[in-house]
Symmetry: C2
Subunit: 402 residues, 2 copies
Amino acid sequence: MNPASWLDVPADSMFGLANLPYGVFTTADRSARTGVAIGNYVLDVAAATGDTVHATGSMNAFLARGPDGWAALRERITDWFADERWRPAVEPHLIPRADVTLQLPIEVADYVDFYSSQHHAENLGRLFRPGNPPLTPNWRHVPIGYHGRAGTVRVSGTPVVRPQGQRKSPAESAPTFGPSKRLDIEAEVGFVVGLPSELSQPVPVSAFDQHVFGVCLVNDWSARDLQAWEYVPLGPFLGKSFLTSISPWIVPLAALEAARVSPPVREPEPLPYLRDGAPWALDITLEVFVNGTLVSRPPFAGMYWTGAQQLAHLTVNGANVRTGDLYASGAISGPNRNERGSLIELSWNGTDPVELSDGSRRTFLEDGDEVTITATAPGPGGARIGFGEVIGRIYPALSDSR
Amino acid sequence: MNPASWLDVPADSMFGLANLPYGVFTTADRSARTGVAIGNYVLDVAAATGDTVHATGSMNAFLARGPDGWAALRERITDWFADERWRPAVEPHLIPRADVTLQLPIEVADYVDFYSSQHHAENLGRLFRPGNPPLTPNWRHVPIGYHGRAGTVRVSGTPVVRPQGQRKSPAESAPTFGPSKRLDIEAEVGFVVGLPSELSQPVPVSAFDQHVFGVCLVNDWSARDLQAWEYVPLGPFLGKSFLTSISPWIVPLAALEAARVSPPVREPEPLPYLRDGAPWALDITLEVFVNGTLVSRPPFAGMYWTGAQQLAHLTVNGANVRTGDLYASGAISGPNRNERGSLIELSWNGTDPVELSDGSRRTFLEDGDEVTITATAPGPGGARIGFGEVIGRIYPALSDSR
């Protein structure tokens, strides 16, 4: 149950007082500004606080203030809604959520995508490198990751234009060019960096919550045919870089205290710089819908590497992080078929289609399909923490419409 | 020979009127602003033009104006120095180059590193994947590349702190952690994007000079031991992300007309979206010095894929480019040993050390070493176009000094 408020927040709301996620919104008469979701409303934080840092059209300047600044504002907003005396001052700055347009909440600095689900990595290994061990020898030692394209990270709802590129099946002697025939999703959780670090100064596992502000949902759209042809030896490039969609609401780590769980046992034990301090596995359950049919419920709690380990790894060589850095978990897959975080896994490389509620079947995405990823996590006192949703609809490749 | 000027520009200056490269500088009493190098001076463009776009501390706002804006300013500055009548107005805004501190000239949006030298790719293939064909099957079809870390692109002179990380030799059963023992360079040319493009709208080969403003030198520092252990299956990550150094001067494409040459014959013929229009191979010769000894002269003219093809490739899937995007060529190696663009090639994986003029030998870089990369290209009428230099000195890993 959420803490009580003078605002009419449904007792089971996933955007209750225990959550208070941040986003950036516009309305017909308000320029882009920071808002906090509460119940069925958005609080105009720029107007309510009078602090121009929230009127910049991106959360970055606020994020750069660091954990003390984040905690102070969270406490202030919590007080506002818990105490009736604040009602006259706060209520005028509430806007029905239905009336706002949500924007990309952050200016993305660097975008890194990890590969930290053991079941996902094993499934992809079996499909992309048949005949070899599913996990590469480094996987249990190194939180494998790569840099993605920050400039194509967009907010939920951005049209997904089917990418074109080179692809070559093993049976073909040369590549051909055209629209991807194997357009896929990856259901992921993303971490948003607030406080930057210095070049050549690694961030230890223990400093995770000093630098990371919060969490969003990520759909790392993937063109499997482009990816398969290009990825040796330097990794995914055009197979991923056409678009990455994120949810508009950033859930603060502060809202996820009740969701913290112990990560799985790692064998062999990681090197010292990767050893867990306080546990930072998070019991977030995602749901993936294709055209309204629930096709998967990926469990984030079981990820092999946590966000704290990922941050320690990506800075251990001296790389700094910046405000607005986004790093994502990689596709999240559990051990069961209905927990897989991508269609290539769900359909086992197209050999075992997924059935939708209208009776149609999918291996990969078709033009007109709409994918929605949502998630929830336990909050304090039985409340549920919601993450909103990241949605994308598939549009035909440009060549098809020319 | 450079065009004549009232300014005392040595006839053989590589920063003559034919060049006019842009950078960002500070002095004791001037905040970061855009400058143009000419002879032994820097023109304070912000002061000379009175245009505040040049006083922002980064070239990005000027770059975003696009090719008409770039051409107009180049023409204006050329006139200023060719015509004595401008002397009284312009001369007060010249500062001796020795008196300025050069800064990172652009805010880097996305950073992509290609792998477009056939000799480099073949050498690395032989060293990293012995027993297999040196070029992967996709290499002659796809301009192979990957995203690097934009947040660790720094200006020439930034200290190179030896990175730490995981590495495992084939003889070891498990990885160990510590300072890289195989710290290397990659001598590259980088392209700086000015005019952005739209999501889902590929940039054709023919639009290269509409979007790309100019060229800089890049040293893509590489920890070969970290890279070898981590790079399968998602590509280089910590082996590269600790630092990428660029030269402070961006040479406009407009200064490189005389350097344009035909690229090598490609066999098989590339797919249509990659076919050359006007030739965009560039006859730039790099020089790599280690502690003052010239160790290599990598020839850029022979690169398999040009900057125009790289741009067409990286956007063909619908990815957009942004002002400040930087994409680099990959290490440049010619067919001869003294044309190789990395130490792992020059020393053949450490088996054949490079001898320096002080009689010492190098396989990989030692603490205290200083690496300088310079380059020149032909200009109009026999003039030479200089690129300045990108320098880095190696400092001990943090653990060594703790």
